[in-house]
C-alpha cells in the first residue's frame, strides 16, 4: 500500500512543560518536572515524589463552552482535552467549526478512568446522597470519557476508540491511528493518551515496591533511568496528543508536516518465558522490535535514536539487552538512546504519547535530548552499549529514523518507527 502517514499536529501536558513550546524548551535543556508531594509523606508512602504538570484547570474555559466546563471535575479528562485541542489547533484546524469531520477519527487511551469522579460517587453513595450526584458523573466515570469529550469538541465523525494496555497504551494508540489511515479507513486520526496519578493509584504502585524511594529530598534526581543508583520509577501525570494524517490529504490542505510514521508493531510475550504480569518476556520484546522494523521497511542499522521505555527499574538492563539483540547492534555501534522519563517520570498510559511528542520534536529540531541523572550509568548497561550512546547533554545531530517502544503490565509491547519527513 502506497499511502504515507504523517504527523501534522501535537499537543502535550507534561510534568516539565504544558504546551509544545514549554515542553520543547524543557527537553532541550534537561528540565525535570518531578516534585516532592507532601501528601505522599503524610500517607507514609515510600515514594514521595511525582511528575506533576503545571496545569491550570480553569484554562479549559478557553476550549470548552461554559455549560460543558461547569460540572467537569476530573484532571484526567482535563489533561486530555488540553492536549487534544492543542494538537487539533496546531494542525491548522479550528474548534467549533460546526462541521462533522467524517474522515477523521480518534484513538485515545487511559489506564484508569477519572478517579476524582469515582471518589465523588463513592462518597455520596456511601452517605446515602446519590441523588445529589447529578447528570454529569457517568460521562466522567466511563473509560471512554476523555475520548467522548475530545471527539465532541472537535466534531470527529470517523471511528472513535478508547484503548487501554497499561504503559503501552500511548504508543499503541498512535500505532492504531497509523494503521487505520494506512489501510484507508480514515484520512486523519487524533491519537494520544492520558493519565492522572491521584493518591490511590500512587499508593497501589507504591505498595508494589517498584517506585523510587531514596531521592525524596531531591525530587529532580529521583527519576534515574539506566543509572547504577536507579531504584524504581517515579510516577507521573499528563497527556500527549498527535494528529496523524494521510500525506495526500495533508498536502491538499497545505498542512505543516512535522514527521512521518513509518510503521510499527504491537504484540505480547504471553507472560511466558521471562515474562509475567509485570515484566515483559524478552522474546516478545525482540519480536515486537523486529516486526516493527519489518513493517516500517527499515534496516536495524538505520536507527539513529532509540527512545526507550527505560523507567529506572532493574528492567532497564533487560530492555537494552533486548534492543541489542533485536537490532544486532552493540558497544560503539549501538544507537543513541534516551529516556524522557528521566525528566518527567513514568506517566503510565500517558507515557507513550508524551514520549512520542518528544520524538517528533527531536526529529523536527534535529537534536537528542539529554538523559538527566545519568552521571553514574549502570555498568551492566554500558557493558552492552558504549557509554557514549547515552548522552547526558543535549546533542545536536542529523536524525533520520527514531524507534520508540513502550511495554506494559500484562506483557504488552508496542514499538513505532518515525522518520524525518522527506518529500
Amino acid at each position: 500500500m502506497s499511502r504515507r502517514v504523517v504527523v501534522t499536529g501535537m499537543g502535550v501536558v507534561a510534568p516539565n512543560g504544558v504546551g509544545i513550546p514549554a515542553f520543547l524548551h524543557a527537553i532541550q535543556n534537561g528540565i525535570s518536572g518531578i516534585k516532592f508531594i507532601p501528601l505522599a509523606r503524610e500517607l507514609h508512602f515510600n515514594c514521595q515524589v511525582c511528575g506533576v504538570p503545571d496545569f491550570d484547570f480553569s484554562h479549559l474555559k478557553d476550549y470548552l463552552s461554559e455549560v460543558t466546563f461547569y460540572g467537569l471535575k476530573g484532571s484526567t479528562i482535563g489533561y486530555a482535552i488540553k492536549a487534544a485541542a492543542d494538537a487539533w489547533i496546531d494542525a491548522g484546524n479550528t474548534l467549533y467549526d460546526g462541521k462533522i469531520h467524517w474522515e477523521t477519527g480518534c484513538v485515545f487511551g487511559n489506564s484508569i478512568a477519572d478517579t476524582e469522579a469515582m471518589k465523588r460517587i463513592i462518597a455520596l453513595v456511601d452517605s446515602r446522597q446519590s441523588r445529589k450526584l447529578g447528570s454529569r458523573m457517568v460521562e466522567q466515570l466511563m473509560n471512554s470519557g476523555s475520548t467522548a469529550y475530545i471527539t465532541g469538541l472537535l466534531g470527529l465523525g470517523n471511528r472513535i476508540i478508547t484503548n487501554s494496555s497499561a504503559c503501552a497504551t500511548g504508543s499503541q494508540a498512535v500505532l492504531m491511528g497509523y494503521e487505520y489511515i494506512k489501510h484507508g479507513m480514515a484520512k486523519r486520526m487524533l491519537v494520544g493518551s492520558n493519565e492522572y496519578i491521584d493518591n490511590y493509584i500512587f499508593g497501589a504502585f507504591d505498595a508494589m515496591r517498584i517506585l523510587s524511594r531514596k531521592f525524596n529530598d531531591t525530587p529532580e534526581k529521583a527519576s534515574r533511568p539506566m543509572s547504577a543508583t536507579a531504584g524504581g520509577f517515579v510516577p507521573g501525570s499528563g497527556a500527549g496528543a498527535l494528529v496523524l494524517e494521510d500525506l495526500e490529504f495533508a498536502q491538499a490542505r497545505n498542512a505543516t508536516i512535522y514527521a512521518e510514521v513509518l510503521g510499527g508493531a504491537t504484540n505480547s510475550g504471553a507472560q511466558q518465558g521471562t515474562g509475567s504480569m509485570t515484566s515483559p518476556n524478552a522474546e516478545g520484546v525482540v519480536h515486537c522490535i523486529t516486526d516493527a522494523l519489518k513493517n516500517a521497511n527499515v534496516a536495524p542499522e538505520d536507527i539513529d535514536l532509540i527512545s526507550g521505555h527505560l523507567t529506572a527499574t532493574i528492567a532497564d538492563k533487560t530492555e537494552i539487552e533486548n534492543w541489542s539483540e533485536a537490532l544486532g547492534r552493540k558497544e560503539e555501534n549501538f544507537p543513541m538512546t534516551n529516556s524522557v522519563k528521566s525528566m518527567i517520570g513514568h506517566c503510565l498510559s500517558a507515557a507513550g504519547s508524551i514520549e512520542i511528542v518528544a520524538v517528533i520534536l527531536q526529529l523536527l529540531h534535529q537534536f537528542v535530548h539529554p538523559n538527566i541523572n545519568l552521571e553514574d550509568p549502570n555498568p551492566a548497561i554500558t557493558n552492552i552499549a558504549d557509554v557514549s550512546c547515552f548522552p547526558v547533554k543535549r546533542t545536536d545531530r542529523d536524525l533520520n529514523i527514531v524507534a520508540k517502544a513502550n511495554f506494559g503490565f500484562g506483557d504488552v509491547n508496542a514499538c513505532v518507527i518515525f522518520s524525518k519527513y522527506k518529500r
Binding site: S65, E66, V67, Y70, G71, R131, K132, G134, S135
Partner: protein
C-alpha cells in the same frame, strides 16, 4: 418570597446550563427550559439539584416530572417551601 424573586433566583440557577443568555434575560413563566433556553435535557436534573440547594428544599421525582417551564418550576419551589414552613 414572591414569584418574581424566585424567577430572579432561577435565572442564576439556570445560567451555567444555557448558552443563550439573551433568552435567559427575557425569561418569564412561559419560558420552556429545553425549547427556549436550549438546555440539554440531561441537565434538568442538575437544575433541580441546584434549586434544592438554593431554596433548602427537596423536590421528589414526581414533582420534578411536572417541571417543564419557569412557571411550573416556580410553582413546585413555592409548594415545597410552603410544605417545609
Amino acid at each position: 418570597m414572591s414569584r418574581q424573586e424566585i424567577l430572579e433566583g432561577l435565572k442564576s440557577v439556570l445560567a451555567p446550563y444555557t448558552m443563550d443568555k439573551e433568552a435567559l434575560n427575557s425569561i418569564n413563566d412561559e419560558t420552556e427550559f429545553i425549547k427556549d433556553l436550549k438546555i440539554n435535557s440531561a441537565n434538568l436534573i442538575d437544575i433541580i439539584i441546584d434549586a434544592e440547594e438554593r431554596y433548602e428544599i427537596e423536590i421528589d421525582p414526581d414533582s420534578a416530572e411536572k417541571i417543564h417551564n419557569a412557571g411550573s418550576c416556580i410553582d413546585i419551589i413555592l409548594e415545597k417551601m410552603k410544605e417545609k414552613a
